[in-house]
């Protein structure tokens, strides 16, 4: 996203807004991650302890989600860049 059309005072406010939004989105991403991995890995409620098998699943689920999120981020940025280039021509 390109905010260069705004003046410096506005850019400062926008920058603060972006940072606050990133913080909020990071929290939400974390909460979604917990919910998803719990749903995918835990379905035995015969005990209240997390089993070794469940723990392994959660660690892998965590890795998969971060990996996927990173990869989506790369492609997303590239495609956005391309689209903005396309618009300027």
């Amino acid at each position: 996203m390109d905010f260069s059309r705004y003046n410096a005072a506005e850019q400062a406010q926008i920058q603060a807004m972006v940072e606050q939004k990133q913080m909020k989105d990071f929290l939400k991403m974390y909460q979604n991650l917990v919910e998803r991995c719990f749903n995918d890995c835990v379905s035995d409620f015969s005990s209240k302890a997390v089993s070794t098998k469940e723990q392994t699943c959660i660690t892998r689920c965590f890795g998969k989600i971060l990996g996927a999120s990173e990869r989506v981020g790369e492609r997303f940025s590239e495609l956005n860049q391309q689209m903005m280039m396309g618009q300027q021509q």
């Binding site: 410096a8 890795g63 990869r71 989506v72 997303f76 689209m83």
Partner: protein, 100 residues
Amino acid sequence: MAMWGGGFGAGSQAVNPQNIAVAEQELEMVTDLFNRISNVCYNKCIPPKYAEDTLNKGESVCIDRCVAKFMDVNLKISELLQKRGQEGGGGVPGVPAATS
């Protein structure tokens, strides 16, 4: 929220609240799009078997294509919507009128 509105020290330049609101909306749309793509493409490409803790080759390629396709569909639907908007009276439904 409570922090806006003063003290950002960018000298004497005036801040146009309209501009801030537009930027906020743009930011909102881009991050929402990113979050939706992440979620949808995870569902489409990563089976919850979790045999290892990194993306394998097939999953990586699937994600790449899924992101491209989603953004393409996003564009196509915005075109459909614009066409519909031009064609016709009122066209696009949304929330029903809420005030008297």
